[in-house]
Amino acid sequence: MTTDTAITTPTDSRRVHYLNASYGIKSWLLTLDHKRIGILYLVMTTVFFIIGGVFATLIRLELLTPQADVVEAATYNKLFTMHGVAMIFFFLIPAVPAVLGNFLLPIQIGARDVAFPKINLLSWYCFMAGGTLATVAIIMGGVDTGWTFYTPYSSTYSSFYVPLALTGVFINGFSSILTGVNFLTTVHKMRAPGMTWFRLPLFVWAQYATSIIMILGTPVIAITLLLVALENVFGIGIFNPDLGGDPILFQHMFWFYSHPAVYIMIVPGFGVISDVIACFARKRIYGYSFVAFSSLAIALLGFLVWGHHMFTTGQSMYASMVFSFLSFLIAVPTAVKIFNWTATLYKGSVSMECPMYYAMGFIGLFLIGGLTGLFLSTIAIDIHLHDTYFVVAHFHFVMVGGMVMAYLAGLHFWWPKITGCTYSEGWAKVSAVLIFFGFNLTFLPQFVLGYLGMPRRYHVYPEEFQVLNVMSTAGATILAAGYAVLFTYLILSLFMNRRAGPNPWRAKGLEWEIPSPPGPHNFDVTPIVTAEAYAYDEEDVTPATPGAPDEGSPIPREAERTEA
């Protein structure tokens, strides 16, 4: 039915869709449409990505030489702190759930919106309030604690702006919680008739698993930050040893949230990759239920491994062993995912288009990120590698190599759906290749640096580490060029007037059965789902049939007809 050729007509531009349904700043800032809120998040997370990227650039420039020459020590410390805060709290955590999730989750399950549209908007305002406070803290004087905010340095020895930044992170946490509540309720209550749990796209499963982590984990970081505030304001000894507190307690509480938060960042990416690979291999994802449940397994196990960040703190030897053991268990569901993605290509019809470039890049880089995680789970090795560049390289492989590549795969995959425009496929491939090689050149040398013993957060370092640092900076330059190309052609695509049809990839799933961009209410008639989201073998049978029994054509055509 709805193939790209079917409805690509000039009348498209006159059709009412979510972008032209109303105009003006107010129509955006007060919107309750999940798609527009997704766009609001897209714009703001991109702003924070650019801010964090600028900080990263300055860091890499400083590390070009062993001496301090670009910035002084205090400035350098602020740079890596703010790079971490901007990227983690204001880009990585919200990017896939709040941008792609907000836009796609209701459409993929056949709903007109999320369960609580007003709460959805509120979550964006929490994000904005938190982001504004953090930005003010950066502009006023900066924060130099590292994104981990370890006590007692953060609570007693650092600058006045730390509480301000902490408040920003605190408020931003509510945006995660609200999004999580919304998604869970939406998936439970608003699935279209016939959209059973095992017909859900894996993207929805991944968002569901992520939402669980958001709801269970985020309150803990909020409590922790409140306790820091209580200690500072009322002098109650909680983390400060001079008041009888325990600084290590902070690390327990911090990582109880922040380790699961790593999965908040990466699990939604798994969902994107599953959907992209299925589409470009034209195959049901291999081992669908294993892939779905491995997301849940990772989400739950992720809560039990926080102590692997603390092997060197002097925590009990047996505690370290238990945390190490549980960390190794996470290798299993992760491996299962990678094997299933690979197996999906077997006897498929594999087309290497841009989203697939990113998906392949994701598998390769995430594989290295995951395997190096095993080094760090091995206690004896971690004692040596903890707080070195090995750790830095490991989490950049997972977060940038994994999560950002997945996000870009998703962004390229759904860009025609979101904007109604197609981008330049050639430039997209160029940027994907630049990003892949630039990334590897940046971070592979850091594994070597880490094993050699270069500690992280050093702005001057022994001379023998210079060659590897120069390689890393060279890689970062290529990486930056890749991102610059990406921003350019994506923005240009909006002005090129190359209309995307409703289904440019001939993909399956409800979102591809409605026009691009979707109408204000997604579906004019509630779809009735008769097949799963990956029925790639059946060209003519669509996963959904329209609700109106007398109307044989799918929903988009109906919308077209009323237009014409």
Binding site: Y157, P241, S289, G348, T378, A380
Partner: protein
């Protein structure tokens, strides 16, 4: 160290090979899985590339047997590596009985080190080769981490408590000493060197210099000056418990709880005396919080320890 492009750190302690062989084992395993996955990705992408736009590949039902297989193989391998890593850690955890003690205090942004014999140094640690060394680590301010890459070991230096670490150097030479836990502005300046010397040479070095006072002697002097002995007498008649013979033994608190009187307990009882009072005594001791440096505390504790050595 003059090498400009090193790929592998020097091996200078008994831990080094234990860690390195695990590292190479994992490197091998990782390379195997990475190559295998990439091989199949490339193979499938090429072999099953789309030849016509209208291709509709037949669906393949998943195989539970295959899923179980590729769950169990990583599980077994993971558990094997876990056991090796935990086993090595277990062996590395406790210092041998014959380890010599050296005391380290971290403060923003320097390492202050004192040897029991009285020798002190800053940002340098001299140790004998082929001799287990146990470090007791204290912090004056924030969390630091004592890291010697050539020895493959580190330990956080946490304010408010003592951590210990140990190593046995196997090669005479000079090695990097880093602070690994971010500790503020000059964190990357909190570096130094570890000098491993032949045993005889080390003894000569230790007895050189000016300070004639050992840590125990310094502690005894402090003990007297602070007036501790007015209450902690040689007999059981004092207002505070007798301290000789207490170190390393169980003491019964007023709460009925029993704790081992180790360094941490002694430190806590000096700084926060009301929190763990020995049964039969009144909580009358004043606090010394804020009055003693970590180095002085270590001297006093060394002295109290020495009262049990003579038994």
């Amino acid at each position: 160290m003059s090498d400009n492009f090193p790929l592998f750190p020097e091996q200078a302690s008994t831990f080094a090979w234990q860690v390195d062989y695990l590292y190479f084992l994992l490197l091998g395993l990782s390379a195997f899985f990475a190559v295998a996955v990439v091989f199949f990705l490339v193979l499938f992408s090429f072999k099953y590339r789309r030849r016509s736009e209208d291709e509709r590949p037949r669906p393949i039902e998943g195989s539970v047997a295959l899923e179980v297989t590729w769950s169990i193989i990583p599980l077994i391998l993971s558990l094997a590596v876990f056991s090796l890593g935990a086993g090595a850690f277990f062996r590395m955890y406790r210092a041998p009985e014959n380890a010599i003690d050296i005391y380290v205090v971290g403060k923003q942004w320097m390492w202050k080190i004192q040897h029991p014999e009285g020798k002190r140094e800053i940002n340098e640690l001299h140790v004998p080769v082929n001799q287990p060394v146990r470090l007791t680590l204290a912090s004056e301010d924030v969390i630091h981490s004592f890291f010697i890459p050539a020895f493959r070991t580190k330990k956080d230096v946490v304010p408010g408590r003592y951590n210990t670490m140990w190593f046995e150097a196997t090669k005479v030479g000079e090695y990097h000493l880093f602070c690994a836990e971010y500790c503020g502005t000059q964190h990357s300046g909190m570096v130094g060197r570890v000098v491993v010397m032949e045993q005889e040479e080390f003894q000569n070095w230790l007895s050189g210099g000016v300070s004639g006072e050992t840590m125990v002697e310094a502690g005894a002097r402090q003990f007297q000056q602070l007036g501790c002995e007015t209450c902690h007498k040689e007999s059981d008649q004092g207002r505070g418990p007798k301290l000789s013979g207490i170190y390393g033994h169980l003491v019964k608190l007023t709460t009925g709880q029993e704790v081992v009187a180790d360094e941490d307990y002694l430190r806590n009882s000096i700084l926060d005396p009301g929190s763990q009072v020995v049964g039969g005594y009144k909580p009358i001791m004043p606090t010394f919080q804020g009055q003693l440096s970590e180095e002085t505390l270590l001297q006093i504790i060394s002295y109290i320890r020495s009262l049990s050595d003579s038994e």
